[in-house]
């Protein structure tokens, strides 16, 4: 097929944001505390939030370097993204998550990175942003329930963190865990699920340059409803893989069992790669409703990141390893 090694292909997120470099520099300096330039930046055309308790007052302007993804899909607005959330720890009602989660205490927030590593690490969520290069990533997000959106995340490659902790030779998988605190996350009292939320990636998936830990959205810190202070984003997998409010990252030898694998093993596998050819018992995966645009569109293999990630699954039966 192609002889160019994938490492030499400019990833689309860089390719499509290169023209906006100046603006990005301004954003980065703003987040580094220089702040002055940020005041000169145009505010995005967001409308006022209908519920004043939902938006947290912040000095950071909500900006993204572009208005679409590389395929022309319109970004979901900052307010829309923060008003419609699938987050069972707070509510089963996507419109109530913002309200129910607004008091989540996200600072201080210690994240432990350990397990089969040479240099275990404990970091406060705030420290990640200084320690690793935060960049903007415009990613498609596809929910297994059949809707999708385009989101301008700010985050850093998980690979930077993993390289620093040095997985041992036995480490084959990465296991992520959400905060367990039923007082703050009342949904965790539900007898239906085995909280805390757990997710996992194969080590090579976790090391892939598209895999990020997100700290922000539209250049602003994440709000609790989108997974503050630190969440995973794996754009070629169904969005439930992108675990929120992470407190623990462990390198392990065995394939971790995620919350959804435990809850419904014949519906949710470990991989959960977006795949229109592998049907789900509850929802068709052939098409998706693009939120913000309201159009139904065909779902793409690996959510449109086939070129970047298909090689991770060479020789695997994706119907078996759903």
């Amino acid at each position: 097929m192609q002889n160019i090694p994938s490492s030499e292909i400019t990833p689309p997120h860089i390719y499509f944001t290169r023209r906006e470099i100046l603006r990005k520099v301004a954003m980065l300096s703003a987040s580094a505390g220089v702040g002055m330039l940020a005041a000169c930046l145009p505010r995005s055309s967001q409308t006022a939030s209908p519920d004043p308790t939902v938006s947290v007052a912040s000095e950071q302007p909500a900006v993204a370097s572009t208005s679409t993804d590389e395929l022309g899909g319109l970004l979901i607005s900052f307010d829309d993204k923060n008003a419609y959330n699938n987050y069972y720890e707070f509510s089963l009602d996507k419109r109530r998550v913002a309200r129910e989660s607004k008091d989540l205490k996200t600072s201080p927030w210690v994240v432990s990175i350990g397990g089969l590593v040479n240099h275990p690490l404990q970091l406060d969520a705030e420290e990640f942003k200084q320690r690793y290069p935060v960049e903007e990533r415009i990613y498609r997000e596809r929910c297994v329930e059949g809707y999708s959106m385009v989101v301008p995340w700010n985050g850093f490659q998980l690979s930077h963190l993993l390289k620093e902790v040095e997985p041992t030779a036995d480490a084959k998988f990465v296991r992520f865990e959400t905060l367990f605190d039923p007082d703050q996350m009342p949904g965790q009292r539900s007898p239906m699920f085995d909280f805390p939320y757990v997710e996992g990636l194969r080590l090579d998936e976790a090391m892939h340059p598209l895999t990020i830990l997100a700290t922000g959205l539209y250049g602003k810190d994440l709000l609790p409803q989108t997974g503050a202070p630190l969440r995973l984003v794996v754009p070629w997998k169904y969005a439930f893989k992108s675990i929120k409010a992470i407190v623990k990252i462990d390198l392990v030898a065995e394939m971790p069992t995620s919350l959804w694998m435990r809850a419904a093993p014949d519906e949710y596998g470990f991989y959960a790669n977006v795949n229109p050819n592998v049907p789900h018992p509850r929802w068709s995966q052939e098409t998706e409703l693009r939120l913000g645009e309201g159009e139904r569109r065909p779902t793409m293999l690996f959510n449109g990141y086939e070129e970047e990630v298909a090689s991770l699954y060479t020789g695997m039966d994706l119907t078996k390893w759903y």
Binding site: Y84, F193, A263, P281, R282, S284, L289, L291, R296
Partner: protein, 211 residues
């Protein structure tokens, strides 16, 4: 007793106004653009919930009228059954039109491929037949078979309970509650039936109210 003093017309008007509330609320939210970021999901969920609620009220009429010894309650049963069908019709229409761009072929294929959707469709077809034969003329034409035919509301209720439980990633408190209430109402029939066998045959509580 209080209910008996209220004229039948007033009772029915009150029922219609109440049963149309979910629709009015829905129309209001459509007009004011308050259907969340995912209007399709919002409309599907709310019409489905309205249908389940109407079904529960329909199934409650007979046990309530017996338990409270108020045959006047039975006047609500037929309109409530028709509202169940009405909201189910809205529900499935939104599924076909908004979910599948009115393409009946792909919508049917999808329904047959998913257990929860198949349950819903079978229940809808039962409701359709019951609604179509709910008039006095059908009742006369079908004679004694009419009653047996309309007992299909019970399997329909089971299917609807299952459909609701399976609708989301996991059963929600609302769907669990609805399924439990439906189960209790169906069990009430079983108990009622065993009692009926020990009773003289003139009891007419299962018949459509004729008042």
């Amino acid at each position: 007793m209080v209910l008996n003093r209220v004229p039948k017309q007033v009772r029915l008007i009150t029922l219609h106004l109440t049963a149309l509330l979910p629709l009015a609320w829905l129309v209001w939210d459509v007009l004011t653009g308050n259907l969340s970021l995912n209007p399709y999901e919002n409309l599907i969920r709310r019409t489905g919930q309205a249908a389940v609620l109407a079904l529960i009220f329909t199934l409650s009429c007979t046990p309530l009228s017996r338990w409270l010894n108020k045959p006047s309650i039975l006047v609500f049963r037929k309109p409530l059954g028709l509202y169940t069908f009405f909201y189910a019709l809205l529900h499935i229409s939104i599924f076909v039109v908004m979910g599948f761009e009115a393409n009946l072929v792909t919508a049917t294929r999808e329904i047959l491929a998913r257990t929860n959707l198949t349950l819903g469709l079978v229940a809808f077809l039962i409701l359709l037949i019951l609604a179509a034969t709910s008039n006095r003329a059908s009742q006369k034409r079908l004679t004694k078979y009419w009653k047996n035919l309309h007992r299909f509301i019970y399997p329909a209720a089971l299917l609807i309970g299952g459909h609701y439980l399976l609708a989301r990633k996991a059963p929600t408190p609302a769907s669990l509650l609805a399924a439990a209430v439906i189960a209790v109402l169906l069990l009430a029939r079983l108990i009622g039936m065993s009692r009926l066998q020990n009773r003289p045959p003139h009891t007419n509580a299962e018949n459509l109210s004729q008042d």
